[in-house]
């Protein structure tokens, strides 16, 4: 089975968010980047488990500049066989999806896996877009994925519950919690990752259908109103009359 896992970097979850250039750019100074947790914990690890069970290969693909190489090496250390970086700064989901789809078309992959969203732009867009480019079914927010021959069985989150579905490969799957358990790379993995191929390919220069033109931080909260723990009637009264939420 040939598996392609889309890997993106994202600011560490403890990052304090701020902006520069008149609030038009995310301030990257001092920001530590990690592998987007959904890509790493769920998509990549499940891809590796499927390879271990059925044989095949796991390739990662990232749209990004040389600054992303450290993140890509981490994915290799966790166990991917090789990596491709499409050499352009990712600025919009439509651009990223078009670049990955153009690359994936050449590779005849059975599965394209990616996290359900990135934790910076939270768009949840790239998977569905790739699927449409490649004319493959898209199983979104999958919590479980098994493959038997050429048939995949998946559990996906739906409003208020879970649905079990079946589809023929090839497929695009966005991976959510439940899919796999995080793997911590060991020393051997980290050493091996240095020697694994990281291929850099040139972009097709796909158009960007959207752009972020400015940013703003939420208005600071006013100070908390403390309520006496023995006076919950007062809290209920405030929720009703002041906050008007019950």
């Amino acid at each position: 089975m040939k598996i392609l896992v889309c890997i993106s970097k994202a600011p560490d979850t403890t990052t304090k968010i701020s902006f520069t250039d008149g609030d038009t750019k995310f301030d990257e100074s001092g920001v530590k980047y990690i592998v987007n947790p959904y890509d790493e914990w769920y998509a990549l690890v499940r891809g590796l488990e499927l390879k271990e069970a059925h044989g095949g290969s796991v390739t990662t693909v990232t749209v990004g500049t040389a600054e992303d190489d450290a993140t890509i090496r981490k994915a290799l250390a966790i166990g991917a066989d090789d990596a491709t970086r499409i050499n352009v700064k990712p600025e919009d989901a439509s651009q990223v999806a078009a670049e990955i789809a153009a690359y994936a078309k050449e590779g005849a992959y059975d599965l394209v896996l990616l996290g359900k969203e990135t934790i910076d732009y939270n768009g949840s867009q790239v998977g569905g877009m790739i699927a449409e480019h490649l004319d493959m079914p898209f199983i979104s927010l999958a919590e479980k994925l098994d493959v038997d021959g050429t048939t995949a069985t998946l559990d996906k989150e739906i409003t208020g519950g879970v649905q079990t579905v079946e589809a023929e490969l090839p497929l695009v799957v966005s991976c959510a919690k439940g899919m796999a358990e995080q793997r911590i790379p060991n020393m051997r993995g980290i050493m091996a990752a240095r020697k694994k191929p990281l291929n850099v390919v040139e972009p097709t220069n796909a158009a960007k259908q959207t752009s972020f033109v400015k940013y703003a931080l939420p208005a600071p909260k006013s100070a908390v109103k403390l309520i006496d723990p023995n006076n919950m009637d007062e809290l209920v009264e405030l929720l009703h009359n002041e906050a008007k939420v019950i």
């Binding site: 979850t13 939270n122 959207t210 931080l217 929720l239």
Partner: protein, 313 residues
Amino acid sequence: MSVLVYINSNGEKIAKNAFEAVTYSKKIGDVTVVTNGKADDSMLAQLGKYGASKVLVDRSFEGIDEQQITRLVATAAENVGAETIVFSNDLIGKAVAPRLSVKLSAGLVAGATGVPQEDGTIPVNVFSGKAHGFVKVNTDKKIIALLPNSIQPEETGADAAVEEFNGNAGDSRVTVKETKLPEGDIPLPEAELVVSGGRGLKGPENWNLITDLATELGAATACSRPVADSDWRPHHEHVGQTGVAIRPNLYIAAGISGAIQHLAGVNGSKTIVVINTDDEAPFFKAADYGVVGDAFEVLPKLTEAVKKFKASN
């Protein structure tokens, strides 16, 4: 301007986020709704109250197959000459809107939190709710996927005309084997009231403290990540940066410290109540109302107070 809204009407009733999407679209232009499934005409006609002038319904398929819905919406968009297409950014919207964006070469704004600004940009949440971004669409057609609970449905009009429609949806390549919808649970992403518990509740055996209050309020239940990771509660209740992001009207957090990753998923809530023994817990900085006290004592008292309030109102 012609605006097309896709809504799901496969359920027993039309969900609130569908009314939100129609209300939102009415603020942009003249609204046509397209839907599939089995909802009867009188149910669909109600969408007119929120601003739809016409409802197109394709009864040839039920279900939520994202390729079928993509083709249906594309056909309808062509039919009504829609310049803007609106979805709710729920689980169906998240699967369909990106496909449609490629199919129609229409820029997608996912997770919109408000109407287009004067400069044409559309506000969205970014960095898991830690900031807002403003997105410009560079294509003629646009698709907006509206974050649930971002605007209040407004009833302004009368019933809409409902028309049968053939959306050329084609076949599904995905077979549904089983659908599990836990009875009685309120789906978290759409809940207006949420009661949530953290590690401070010590163990799953104490969760009746949370569920009793939730039942009394008619609220959904949620939890912090370590609670789900320890299997005290199911995964789908985990809120935060790596769980579900929610924005209910009321979020009550008991025994949760308020780590930055937790706050990221809940800071869009309109009102936050925090119950914690530690008056230095970071969550108090994000709270509207705080109770410094033991959740084991405070929660039953709060449940009682809600009961009393409900009885007298």
